[in-house]
Each structure stands twice: as structure tokens, then as C-alpha cells.
Subunit: 236 residues, 2 copies
DNA sequence: CGGTGTGAAAGTTTTCACAGCG
DNA sequence: CGCTGTGAAAACTTTCACACCG
């Protein structure tokens, strides 16, 4: 009964199925980032070929990736930037805003509290926790640092679903356990360890030293595997 | 003529060929990180099955990955942790230390200057640059902030080969151009833009908002695609 | 004409399964 | 026996190429 034809299906009915390769989703974020830059500079439409070129991908790859989620293009024209942005944010879940809990307010944690880039993608750090009693009670970026003991209650009261772990490696698993116990659904982990988590908790790891290590390898085995003409892209 | 047999070939003669999948190299870094934790806790040997379980990979995958670089195991025993660590550091290029240049010493840049995790993997931030004249001359973490004008000379004098871009999005391409002109070989880019780079310059992008966006997607389409029993792992 | 959406082909990565070794 | 190293099979991802559309 549901029409399958009309002009662009706009948002389409979300993945409909769970099997979208992870690498496709990571490219989606890059498409979205680029599209946002394009509208900011006044561009109205873009073809898969142009968008791919900006990121170092083929036109076919861009179309296939988008094809996982619906039909968004206009033959002969390309994609309307504003429509595509809206569709991708629907898919990625960032058309509504997310409250995030931060555990660990050291060096890096404080820098992340001040990072403006989160807000632009609709993420807000809504609570911050630290084990160090000398830090608890201090205000950083307008946020009162709370003791770990308040973590579970705060997360539930504020309906926080995502957490960020920014504690030293030795404390990371404990922080994760607390977040999981509080009912968190996903964790970004900046500590250089692999967390043991129940399978229903989503997990993204960011290890800053590993990023440099990957570069070290690429540079060391530098038989210059020239890829695209002038646009290189390596996503960790 | 070269013997192919002996006990573990130890380091083997490096990739010998350029075709090691990027995803294999990123797992190598995870193996190394875990192995370092294991020796620190006194473990001498480990099997592909144990190592994989700790990271959420299969035993076969661990063995295949290592197989790209040589033969490191002892049948019936597994791998000797210390030997394997040394071999992996040879492969990744982190048995010698790397000097890194940082461009942009804001919030995040200062936090990265203080991050201890780089040193542990043999990376040292050896020079820091900023365009802001009020920052130039200040000392952060024992490092004098230099003006951008000194970038090329300093990089050449100190033999720096890797760079880190920690400037706002609008300034990132300019920073990259300066680093490239100074002869840098690889760049870690923390600005949320895709850089246009010549193909001989290696490039790793880290976008903090995108990491959260990936989580948002995973949580949103949470039909809980339970993977490993208790160990989840998602590398961006 | 310029461009999308998409099956089918090509290429790549993961898993399987087993010979061989200490 | 326990475990590695590795071909061969299976699964997955990317590229190709073309019908179709405005």
C-alpha cells in the first residue's frame, strides 16, 4: 500500500533493518560534515561526484551509501543540500539534542568541556563527575563537578543516555561499570584500554596515541601509495 | 638462500610489500596496547584465542593479521609477549621516538600538550605554534609557543616528520599547507574538516563530534546487535 | 544532457578447517 | 595435547555499467 515511487522519498523509513555496515555510517558523518560546510558557503545542490571528490570517494560509493537509507536525489540535478542534511541527521539521530555525561575532569576532560564542536552537532555535556574530592564542587565551563556517588542518580534524573570516559586507564573500567549500572546506552572512551561491556551498550574508542601510531606506520612504510590526486583521507 | 624456516622469524623483513589493509594496522595497535598491559601485569605468553577474546576478535583474525608481517608464534604455546611487543613496535615504527609539531595551542591543544599517553608510545611534542600574538612566547608544559612564521625553519632544524592540527576549522587548511610546505610527512587533524593534501602526505582525521554521532546512530538503531559476549569494540 | 538508483561483477576481508609442530 | 600458520570457502564491500528520469 505504501507508495514506493514519488519524487525523492525524503527520509525513507529509517534503516528498516539493522544491517548497515559500520564503515558506511562513518562516511555518512563525513558527508554530513561536508554538506554543512557547503550550505554555509551558499551551495544549494551537489552531485554524488562532487561530494565524493571533496572527500576522496567515488561517486558510486556516495550513491550506494545513501542508497542504504532511501532515495534522496534528483536525476540530472543531484542532491539538495538542505534536504540531504535533514535526512542524514534523522538517520544519525542528531536532529534532536543529546545530553552527555562526562566522567573524569582532568586536562583533557576540561578541554572537551570547552569544545564548541559538540554543540554544533547537537550534543551537550550536561553533567561532569570526578573522583578527586578537591575537584568536586568546582565549576568548569558553567558546570558543577559532581562526585561519582551522584552519577547514577543524576544520569537517571536528567535522562542522559550517552557517556564519555576521560579518566586514566586504570580507572576506566570502573567508570564504565558505573555508567552501565546507571543505565547508559553508549560510551565514548578516551582511555587507552579496551572496556568490557555488556553487548547492549554501544562503544566507541578514541586513543590519541594510536592515531599517531597509525601515522607512524603509514609514514614508515612510505612507498607513497598515491591514492586520489590531491585529496587524501584516512579515517581511523 | 635466506632461510624461511627457523623458530619464530622474529621481526621478519617488514611488510615487504605495500598491501596491508588499513584495518589490519589499526588492530595491530590494539594488540600492542593489550600486550603492554599484559606484560605489566606479569603475563609471559598469550594465545591468539586469549588475545582475541580480550579485544572481541576471533583467534583466526589475530593469527591472520600477524601473518601479514611474519611468524611470531610458537605452536602449542602461543606468543611470547615481550617478543611480540618488540616486533609490533618495529612494524608500527615506534621503537624509535618521533618528534611531533603541534599547530594551534587553544583549549584542546594545551590538553594534548599535557597528555602523558603520547610519551608512552614514543611520541614527543617537540614544537608548538600559534597564530595568536598574545599566546606566542608563552610557555606551556615547558614548551615555548612559537609564531607560525617560525614553523618551517623549526620543523627542518629539528627533523620533525609528523604534525598535529588543533586549530579551528577555518584555519585548518592553511595550517596543513604550511606543514606540507615545511616538508612534513604525516598529519593528525583534529579540526572538523577534510584537508586537501598531496598524496605523499599521510593523514589521519579525528573528529570528536563525529565519534559521538556514531554512537548516536548506534544507540538510535538499537536493535541491540549483540556481538561478543561481554566485550564490545568499535573503532572509529 | 547530466545525473540518480541499482543489479551484477570484481575485489577485499573474514571465517573455516586442518596439516604440522613442540 | 594445545596452538600456530595458511590455503580454500564464505561473506562482505566497492566498482562498474547501464536503464531511466527531468
Amino acid at each position: 500500500m505504501t507508495d514506493q515511487r514519488p519524487h525523492p522519498t525524503h527520509a525513507a523509513d529509517l534503516p528498516s533493518d539493522a544491517s548497515v555496515p559500520k564503515v558506511v555510517v562513518s562516511r555518512l558523518s563525513l558527508y554530513l560534515r561536508e554538506l554543512q560546510r557547503l550550505v554555509a558557503s551558499g551551495q544549494q545542490t551537489i552531485s554524488s561526484n562532487q561530494l565524493g571528490a571533496l572527500l576522496g570517494f567515488s561517486d558510486a560509493q556516495v550513491r550506494k551509501d545513501l542508497g542504504f537509507f532511501g532515495q534522496f536525489g534528483y536525476p540530472g540535478v543531484g542532491y539538495r543540500c538542505d534536504e540531504l542534511i535533514r535526512a542524514m541527521r534523522d538517520i544519525l539521530g542528531t536532529n534532536h539534542s543529546w545530553n552527555v555525561a562526562m566522567v573524569g575532569v582532568g586536562n583533557l576532560g576540561q578541554a572537551l568541556l570547552g569544545y564548541r564542536g559538540f554543540g554544533r552537532q547537537n550534543f551537550a555535556i550536561a553533567a561532569a563527575f570526578d573522583a578527586d574530592p578537591t575537584k568536586v564542587g568546582q565549576t568548569v565551563q558553567g558546570l558543577r563537578i559532581q562526585p561519582l556517588e551522584e552519577l547514577a542518580a543524576t544520569i537517571r534524573e536528567q535522562g542522559i543516555r550517552l557517556g564519555m570516559i576521560v579518566v586514566p586507564a586504570e580507572r576506566a573500567q570502573e567508570a564504565a561499570d558505573r555508567l552501565v549500572a546507571a543505565g547508559i546506552e553508549g560510551i565514548v572512551n578516551f582511555a587507552p584500554v579496551t572496556l568490557a561491556l555488556p553487548p547492549h551498550v554501544q562503544n566507541v574508542g578514541v586513543d590519541l596515541a594510536i592515531e599517531l601510531e597509525q601515522l607512524s606506520f603509514a609514514v614508515t612504510s612510505k612507498l607513497a601509495k598515491a591514492t586520489a590526486e590531491s585529496t587524501g583521507q584516512v579515517e581511523p
